[in-house]
Every structure is written in C-alpha cells, then in structure tokens.
Amino acid sequence: MVNLDDLKKEAHRILEENKVKYIIGYSQGSNGFPAVPAFIRNPEDSDNLIWNPACIHNLTRFLRDEKKRKAREKHPDNRPVGIIVKGCDSRAINVLLQENYITREDVFILGVSCEDTGVIDEKKLAKKLMGKMALSFDWDGNRNLVVTTKNGEIKINADEVLAERCLECPAQSPVVYDILFGDKVKRSPETRFESVEKIEKLSTEERWAFWKEQFDKCIRCYACRSVCPMCYCDECVVDTISFAVTADTTAEEKAQKIKWIDKSPVPSETFFYHMVRAIHLAGRCIDCGECERVCPLDIPIRFLNKKLEKEAKNLFDYEVGFDPNQLSLVSSFKDEDPEDFIR
C-alpha cells in the first residue's frame, strides 16, 4: 500500500532542503473534485498532497511549461522540479529523456506504484453510483473500490471501475524514479490490446461509420493535443495555433507557410488532424489516456494511439518508454525489420 504520510514527508524534506524548485503533485479540487494537479512550493503546503484512485492526470505534461519558463528567464534556477508519477507517467519521462527534451537532472521523480489496481474511470464510477455523490473513495487492498456516500459505503470490484488502459497496463509501478512509494510490480497483462482488437474486428464500412460518427462530434478544442506530454512542438504541423515567429522570420516564410488543414470542424479536416497526430505519436505514446479523458465530447481517441502502439509492438517489437536510451521508432531501423511491404 502507498503510504501518503511517507509521500508528504519526502515532499516536505526536498522542499525544505531546497533540493527542488517546487513539486508537481495532486491535491483536493474544489467542489468535491477528487484530485487536481497542484504546485507545491512551500514545505508546509506538502500537507495538501493527496494520493487516491482519482489521481488520473499525467503531470509530466507540465514539464514543458517549466522548460519554456526557464527559457524566458535571464538567470534561470537550474534546480530540478519534483514530480509525482505513476507507472504510465514515468514512461512519459523516459520518452522525453529519449528525445533529449529534458535531462535527468531536470526532474526529481517521486514514483508512486499503482500496485495491483490503477486509477478509476470517472464515467464508469458515475454509472455505478447512479447519481449518488462520492464523498471519498479508496482501494481496500483486495482489488475493491470502497466509496463513501451520504448513505453509507459501497464496494465495487476494481475491474468494473478501473480505466480501460489500466486493465492493459504493462507498467504498474514507475520504471524510472528517485524514490518509490508502494511495492514494485511487474506484470505482463495478457490483454495488452483487447480494446483495439474489438474495433479491428469490425468491417471497413462499420469502422468508417464508427469513426465518422465520433469525429462529427469533434469541436477541435485541441484539448487532446494540449494535454499530451509528448505534443510539445512549438509549431504543430497539422494546425498551427502557435506560430514560432521571431523578428528574423521573413514575410516570404510566413506567406509560404502551408496551411495543412482549415480551422473548420468538418470531417475532412478533423480526420486529418487526428490521423496525423496519431502517426506523430507512433512509438512515443505511453497510453496515459489523458487525451480521451479530457475530450468534452467523449471521443475514444485513445484507440488511434493504441492501434499504432500495437503495430509498433507486433511489427518492430518496440516498447515505448522503458528505456530512455533506445532509438526512436520512426527514425531508426534494424536489418531484421519486416520488408514484405516492399515489392
């Protein structure tokens, strides 16, 4: 079991000893939100840290804000940032290390193990509670979620409320850390890609109809891209909402910049955005599921990335985020890579 007091003590220590600038962790949200990202700067505030099955957010997303902030400072503070990560989140750190986006010295990693459970899917829980408000919840150590409501306690089996990605997770405890809370666990789930296989079984027409219906809902809020730790490009090739323009950028460069997709939320543009983003994440996505969680229209975006993760594993035996020194999937090759598509 993860001991929250130990976590708080360690947070307190590293802040007091000025070992880190601040800590990115989780705290209680307002109005009963079970967990939100929090930035702890003072040792006394480390008491605000929480750890519960609603700590879903991938906090590594905020490492790029830190990097941008440092780049703007004249005399940057080069101490690391403390960060609380789960197994999936820690793999994101490995990918960022692999890509030299950050260095190991930029982060002090407080790894927290999910042990034999994970995080909940809020929608699945809401369905189980049928309108009742959850005052608090936690795992009971026997793979049950115990939920306290106004009218008493409810016990729900973990498999019925766990996020789908947790059921397929290959890294239930962090793979990189400076200090680990909870037990180290390594399990290889038999069902790595079951969610994707369900859709693969559909015919082409059924799959087209499925995705057309989903993408018709898309309002191109770009929350999926904004929340992804790996979508850190200053200028996204698919749709630039953030031009990297300096005083030296010439008028010609700006005039000739290709507009790959229009802003209009029509099927052609929306499909293109999601497809290209998925391909750009091939070999980089660690399935934290945030893209799907944040989508206000409940579009199952995660399937696109999971499909490519499956391809990477089956075709190239490539695993994402376990080794910070491995080469990138799309910019390296081995002699034994499959060639049957080359005629």
Binding site: T250, A251, E252, K254, A255, K257
Partner: protein, 274 residues
C-alpha cells in the same frame, strides 16, 4: 448586400508605388471603387483589405479625406495577406471594406501647432492628418515633421517629403551612420529630444514601432507635453473590424471600433496589453 459589414467592395488598384525595397519592402497602393460612390472617411480610420483566397488585413487609410479620387494604403510586406497584396499590380482588383475605427479629432486643433513624429511605416497612419492640415493651413498653427527610419532606403513618401520641405519644417533621421547622410543620426525619440519641439499650444501626433512610441511619449513628457496633447494610433491583430470577434481588445475597448486613435491620456487608462 450593401448593409452587410463583412462583404468587401471591389476596388481597382490604379497605382502602385514602390516606397522601400530590401528586407522590409513597403509599397503604396491607390485604389478606386469599381461601383461605390460617396465613400468618405475621417483621418485615422482604417479599412480591411481583402485578397480573396488569402485573407484580410486592416490597413490605415493614409490619403486625406479631401482627396476623392482614390484611397491610399501604404503596406509593409509582413505575412501571408500583405505578401499577396505586394504581388498585385495596377489594374488588379482588391476588396475594401470600411471605414472602421475612430478618428483624430482634428477639428479641435484649430490654431494649434501640429508636430508629426513618425518611425518607419508609422508615417502612413498619420499621413492623412498631415495632408489634410497642409490643405487647410490657415486653420492650424505651425506644422512640423520628425521622421526616421532604420536606413535611408526605408524612407517612405520620399518625393512627397522633398516637396514638403518647401512648406513646413521636416527633420529626417536614420538609425545608424550612413555614407552621404547629412541629417540626424540616431533613433527617432532621441531626435525628438534633439529638436526640442515646444509644447506651447501644440499637439504631437506620433506613430511607429511600439518601442518607438513608448520612448517618444516619454521624451515628449520630459519636454513638457501634457497627456492630452499627445496622440497616437495603436495596432492590434484584427479579423472582423467591427468589434465582434473579440480579438483586438485592449481592456474594454476594441481597437477596431473604439480605437485605433488614442490620446496618451486615454491610453494610459487602459491596461497595458498591447
């Protein structure tokens, strides 16, 4: 169709003048509406120029309202739309909609000395006031111009400035030493301090890069100008031009509707986000 503010009116380019070349090209375009009569504007107002297929760009009308034959726009080639405009030639059709924004309160400046201070392309938005004042000299006091650019090839309205020297005080400057340059060398705000225009019964009208405006205003205050005596015109990214798309606001004002002309007294009251 005539009531719809978003529909541009087709306008023919009747003249193209190359003002400055090099890395920061500036061209002046004179346009005539294909079939609109009676378009009028006030000094300081702008129009949205449309290049169909590329987009729109909000440009100050730099001709005086007293000239009815054409509208003049002096445009710095900066990005997608302005590059497309620069590629256009005499005879080509461009879309024009407007006029938008407020105007310089020139009728309030009777008898006052007008000091125009411009930098680079910033001379264009205040040119309409200068041209109007020239044509109504008896209404105003003494007219003078302090204008500077990075290098002498960047100077716009070169021929007009030569003519102007015969009718009013004109002080030019370039930022750095140049072979053959006989006038002031240095940034425009420093030239302002050098020429010491008197605040007595005067109005200063300035426009240029944001950093130039900032220091010009500072130096004018040092010379004794009051906030109400300093006027400028600001710029912001715009799309609709009519105060609805929410993009160009500085505080509660939309620059396209409540601006772009502000006295320093008014601008001071707005939040510093421009």
């Amino acid at each position: 169709m005539s009531d719809n503010a978003y529909i541009p009116k087709l306008s023919k380019i009747i003249e193209v003048i190359e003002e400055a070349g090099g890395g920061r090209p500036i061209k002046t375009f004179r346009t005539q509406f294909v079939d609109v009569n009676g378009f009028t504007h006030k000094c300081g107002q702008c129009a949205m120029l449309s290049v169909f297929g590329k987009g729109e760009s909000m440009i100050s009308i730099s001709s005086t309202p007293l000239v009815k034959d054409y509208l003049q726009f002096s445009i710095l080639k900066s990005g997608r739309v302005t590059s497309a405009i620069h590629a256009m030639q005499e005879g080509d059709i461009i879309g024009v909609r407007g006029p938008y924004g407020n105007n310089f309160p020139i009728e309030k400046w009777k008898g006052k000395n007008l000091i125009f201070i411009g930098g680079g392309i910033g001379l264009a938005p205040i040119w309409s006031v200068l041209q109007t004042a020239l044509r109504k000299k008896s209404y105003y006091g003494k007219l003078s111009l302090i204008y500077g650019t990075r290098t002498s090839p960047d100077i716009i309205y070169k021929e007009e400035l030569e003519e102007l020297k015969k009718e009013m005080t004109v002080h030019l400057s370039v930022d750095h030493e140049e072979e053959g340059w006989k006038e002031y060398v240095g940034f425009v705000p420093l030239n302002v301090l050098d020429k010491k225009p008197s605040p007595k019964n005067a109005v200063a009208i300035t426009c240029g890069p944001p950093i130039m405006i900032k220091f010009v205003i500072q130096n004018l205050e040092a010379l004794g100008f009051k906030d109400e005596q300093i006027y400028t015109t600001v710029e912001n990214k715009m799309k609709c031009g009519v105060g609805k798309c929410g993009r160009c606001n500085i505080g509660k004002h939309y620059v396209c509707k409540d601006g772009p002309v502000y006295s320093w007294a008014e601008l001071k009251k707005l939040p510093r986000e421009y």
